[in-house]
């Protein structure tokens, strides 16, 4: 046990945030800085006949106006897609549309002005002659004959078809099942809405031909790579990308966005720094959205509730362009999770990725895994009711058992560890499940609609083994870097390729290094988010930072310890194998002679003097490591929620929520609980309130916070968090990742609870969000149409 790991420590980054000293891109002020604003299409689909920028250019304070043609003429390339399964149709994605716009918010021109106010004034002076075209919005409708075509390059709007499993075997097994639950469901579109709107700024040094880009990104190195190798062609060694404090991401800040191309391009063009900051309305139109699946699914089982086969047919809405990782989400991160916690022997799944006239869809917290859990856990919920079985009991009957790990699922993944009964035991106890059921029975007897919802979810996180993800279609490996630099005075700088945008890495990674080296965390500074300061890194998403980024730092710390031990042995004239590195004090001593010792700081200084090192040793205490994990990690959960539905209005009140998760070993319980609770809130948001809604013509109806229902404080009871721990064998820390489990489980748990409340009325399924109106209509229908 070290001094730090496993302890709830206050975050070292907080003093700047609570005092208004956050370093967000929007706060950047550079001498000579100009401001960009982007003219966006009000049409979901239209031909651009002409763009007249003369009046905007003539406005006092406007420096320049550029269109998509200007960018293309100067050699700017389309934004690439980074996950390309075989036979995918890849339509071009220009940073600014050239001859056709394909979703509301598609950019057509950029104004660069002396102030943001003037830039917005100029937008109103740009005349675009549009010729509206028919639009398609729905993922499944897009693939039907006669649907409007979004791209000439994508016939029938189907960009890719991705399947896994033996469909004939699954169909045969389903035909032989005692009971098959069949369900159509919609996993509605969400808008991520990190509270910091996206922002980008750039400065061009013409003498040195050096570009610096600041962007609110979860992965600055990836953005540098894409800007260099694909969109702008600026040599990678002449391009610095900085993602300073980033105000939340939830996946939406992974991708290479148009503004990250436009802003540096314009900065070079005009020879002055440029800054662009999204308004919230712009975020709604242009941040990659999440989810948006239309699914038909079947789960077959024996009469005693043993799962036999699962069949999934899914349409996934890609939106108007293929965002960076978009095709990965409803395929490799979705169908591979369909085994859940269970031993279903055969599983088949297919996803059609379709293009529509909507904002592109990509990873949003959980990314494919919430959608998978939603399908599976809804099916099981209905099955348990059909077979008159307690939903927890049915799940337990099908669990993969602790002695069956590593467990090969029928959908490619090998689960590394877990004890699902233990997670459920803890949840059942915390929730006092039987009392909850008794209260429900009493409430029902009194005429109230009270429901208890249960789910057991799994995710593959800690992405991930590079060979596996690249073989699935990813265009980058997913290892991570971690460097430790020990200064002459024994102070330590930690450099990580992971990126913190709320996770608290400056604290949790310091805890890890503090314990690995036995030094106070006040002597450690964690640096992230700057390509010029860090070794190459991949960034933060898929709950990977502790598992992969932490793993790399453990490796570097090991190397530092080894070197310190060798130096100490040399200076104390002892054999290396006789030395003991005490990780609580950071001292190295000769075994059995604690006073024959060297302190961490002494060795650090000795290295700097470099006059008494082992022969041939380099005089530096600095190590960099790259960790590529052998497998994903598999966090899992048991969540239980209790809700009440108002019979008169259909309004749902969340009464209680218990979240028990096995996220492996825990570095900082305070931060892990924060991740879980925050994740649950986002999951509940999808279940009850949130919807990125378009009308049939392609207009975005939830264009601002006036119409997109963000969860607020008064929507929740106290969310209660518990845990069990089975360490992951897939990384040195035994961690699994805590960022997404809450969201993955939260959505389906609450939907299951509401459906449980409505079960006495015979309601089988309602699509999210579970608005009061939908519920009231279901109640009325159950009562034969009367209220």
């Amino acid at each position: 046990m070290g001094n730090y790991v496993g302890k709830s420590m206050k975050r070292v980054e907080d003093p700047r945030f609570i005092q208004g000293q956050g370093r967000y891109v929007a706060n950047l002020k550079i001498y000579g800085m100009t401001h960009a604003a982007i003219k966006r299409s009000p049409y979901p689909h239209a031909k651009i006949n002409s763009i007249d920028t003369a009046a905007a250019e003539a406005l006092d304070g406007v420096i320049a106006v550029f269109t998509g043609k200007d960018l293309a003429d100067s050699g700017v390339n389309p934004i690439p897609c980074g996950f390309t399964p075989p036979d995918i149709k890849l339509p071009p994605h220009h940073a600014l549309a050239i001859d056709r716009v394909r979703h509301v918010g598609d950019g057509v021109a950029v104004v660069i002005a002396e102030s943001a106010y003037i830039a917005y004034d100029a937008l109103d002076l740009i005349e675009v002659d549009y010729e509206p075209l028919p639009a398609v919005v729905d993922a499944k409708a897009a693939a039907q004959p006669g649907a409007p075509q979004v791209h000439d390059e994508v016939p029938n709007n189907v960009s890719f078809t991705w399947a896994i499993g033996d469909e004939a075997a699954v169909n045969a097994a389903l035909a032989a099942c005692d009971h098959v639950v069949e369900l159509d469901l919609i996993n509605q579109r969400l808008i991520p809405n990190a509270m910091e709107p996206r922002a980008a700024a750039a400065q061009w040094d013409s003498a040195m031909e050096q570009m610096t880009v600041w962007t609110s990104s979860q992965n600055p190195h990836t953005i540098r790579l894409l800007l260099s190798a694909f969109t702008l062609g600026i040599p990678e060694h002449k391009l610095r990308v900085i993602s300073p404090d980033v105000g939340g991401g939830f996946g939406s800040k992974i991708f290479h966005y148009a503004e990250e191309v436009i802003v540096p391009w314009a900065a070079r063009k005009i020879g002055r720094p440029v800054k662009w900051v999204a308004t919230r309305s712009e975020s709604h139109m242009t941040d990659a959205h999440g989810r948006d699946h239309v699914t038909h699914c079947k789960l077959g089982m024996s009469q005693d509730g043993i799962f036999q086969a699962l069949h999934i047919e899914n349409y996934a809405n890609m939106g108007a362009y293929l965002s960076l990782f978009a095709p990965m989400i409803p395929t490799a991160l979705y169908h591979t999770l369909m085994a859940g916690l269970y031993k279903t022997p055969v599983i088949y799944g297919v996803t059609y990725g379709t293009m529509t006239n909507t904002t592109p869809v990509d990873a949003y917290r959980g990314a494919g895994r919430p959608e998978a859990s939603y399908v599976l856990e809804r099916l099981i919920d209905i099955a348990s009711r059909d077979l008159n079985m307690d939903p927890i009991e049915m799940r337990r009957k099908n669990f993969i058992q602790p002695d069956e790990f590593p467990y090969q699922t029928p959908v490619a993944l090998i689960y590394d560890s877990g004890n699902y009964d233990a997670v459920f035991d803890t949840a059942v106890e915390m929730a006092d499940y039987s009392a909850m059921r008794a209260e429900q029975a009493a409430a029902r007897a009194a005429g109230k609609l009270v429901g208890v919802g249960v789910s057991g979810c799994i995710e593959a996180s800690g992405a991930g083994p590079s060979a596996a993800v690249v073989s699935l279609g990813a265009a980058i490996g997913l290892y991570e870097s971690g460097a430790i630099r020990v200064h002459p005075t024994g102070k330590v700088t930690v450099l990580t390729g992971a990126h913190s945008h709320g996770q608290g890495h400056e604290t949790s990674l310091a805890q890890i290094v503090g314990d690995e080296l036995g030094i106070p965390i006040s002597d450690i500074e964690v640096i992230h988010g700057d390509t010029e300061r860090l070794p190459y890194g991949v960034g933060t998403y898929a709950s990977r930072s502790m598992a992969v980024g932490g793993g790399a730092l453990v490796m570097s710390a090991q190397k530092i310890r080894d070197k310190i031990t060798r130096i100490a042995a040399h200076q104390l004239e002892a054999a290396v194998e006789d030395m003991v590195y005490d990780r609580t004090t950071g001292t190295v001593h000769v075994k059995g002679a604690p006073d024959k010792a060297k302190a961490f700081g002494e060795i650090a200084f000795a290295v700097t003097l470099a006059n008494n090192l082992p022969a041939g040793m380099e005089p530096a205490l600095e190590e960099t490591s790259y960790f590529d994990p052998p497998n994903f990690t598999f966090p899992n959960s048991a969540h239980i929620a209790k809700v009440e539905v108002d019979k008169d209005s259909g309004e749902v009140t969340l009464l209680d929520y218990v979240a028990v998760d096995d996220v492996g070993n825990i570095i900082n319980p305070l931060l892990v609980e924060g991740q879980i609770v925050g994740g649950v809130a986002q999951g509940v948001g999808q279940a009850l309130w949130e919807h990125g809604a378009y009308d049939a013509e392609g207009q975005l109806l939830s264009g601002t916070f006036m119409d997109y229902a963000m969860p607020r404080a008064d929507g929740f009871p106290q969310i209660r968090v518990g845990r069990t721990v089975t360490p992951s064998p897939s990384n040195p820390l035994g961690v699994k990742g805590a960022g997404e489990m809450g969201t993955i489980a939260g959505t389906v748990t609450v939907v299951n609870a509401v459906m449980d409340a409505l079960a006495p009325l015979g309601v089988r399924h309602l699509d999210m969000p579970l608005t009061a109106e939908k519920i009231k209509a279901a109640i009325a229908a159950a009562n034969g149409g009367s209220n």
Binding site: D648, S649, E651, S702, D707, A709, E773
Partner: protein
């Protein structure tokens, strides 16, 4: 997030405001600015000239006298929400407008002059049969709330006329009032709002006034509910039966959107009238 340009004129008194308005007949009058500024931030409003009456002391008062309460148009929602002099329905509704920060700046006069159909106050003022006093170059006018709200974002205010005061009877003896609201889950504006004031004497309703809003283009009185209830015993069954009579008063213009259809809102008018009546009846006791 970047309002368009406008000329800004600041009034320092009611008389000065009227002068400025007479000289700039197309100007937009702004008190707290909490309807206007968000609209300008989205460039949905481009007023050209703004007359700021936010500092006019003449419009800032709240006083009760002899069973009657007068509220200056410049009074903020927070001040109304905190007042024990105003009818319960009004303080309750004021406390549900926006959020604490919005209530600190938004004013009663600005709110009702904007006449947003999803606003809370118009519904309450109609139920309370409030009087809206105006000032203009040609003197003062008293307009009943039921006549003040004309249509979607349209009031009986003439050009050059300002809201000066809103006044109404306090909740008297054996009288209670309440407001109940089905909120838009995103904006928290009313999808359905229902306000009621009842007088209960000897266990029997002797006076009932109800109005609904949020679902109709303007706040709508619901006389059918009162008619069904007056003379009846103050019981839950009678309230429930009478609440359904609101359907007679909704008219054909019930509105819907992505959050709630017109049909659903129509149904909810009955539910929320019942809730408002129930609470008001408890308060009358």
């Amino acid at each position: 997030m970047y309002p368009p340009k406008f000329d800004y004129l600041r009034a320092d008194s009611a008389a000065n405001a009227l002068e400025l308005l007479a000289a700039n007949p197309d100007a937009k009058v702004m008190a707290g600015g909490h309807s206007l500024i968000p609209a300008m931030n989205l460039r949905l409003a481009d007023p050209g000239t703004i007359i700021d009456i936010g500092r006019v002391a003449d419009f800032k008062f709240l006083s009760a006298n002899d069973g009657y309460v007068g509220i200056g148009s410049g009074t903020t929602h927070a001040e109304v929400a905190a007042s024990s002099d105003v009818p319960s329905a009004l303080s309750e509704a004021a406390g549900l407008i926006g959020d604490p920060q919005v209530r600190n700046r938004g004013t009663v006069g600005g709110n009702i002059a904007h006449a947003d159909p999803a606003s809370d106050l118009p519904t309450v003022l109609v139920a309370l049969d409030a009087t809206i006093s105006t000032v203009s170059g040609s003197g003062t006018r008293m307009i009943k709330a039921g006549d003040f709200f004309v249509d979607l974002f349209e009031t009986a205010l003439n050009d050059g006329e300002l809201v000066a005061e809103i006044s109404m009877n306090q909740d008297g003896a054996n009288t209670g009032s309440a407001y109940a609201k089905l909120s838009n889950p995103a904006s928290r504006y009313a999808m359905v709002g229902a306000a009621a004031r009842v007088t209960v004497e000897g266990g029997v309703f002797t006076a009932v006034s109800v109005a609904v809003g949020g679902l109709t283009p303007k706040a709508q009185a619901a006389p059918s509910v009162g008619a069904a209830l007056v003379g009846q015993a103050a019981t839950a069954d009678n309230i429930a039966a009478a609440a359904a009579a609101v359907q007679n008063d909704l008219g054909d213009d019930v509105m819907g959107d992505i959050h709630a259809s017109a049909d659903y809102r129509r149904q909810m008018a009955t539910v929320f009238v019942k809730r408002a009546l129930t609470k008001a009846t408890e308060r009358a006791g």
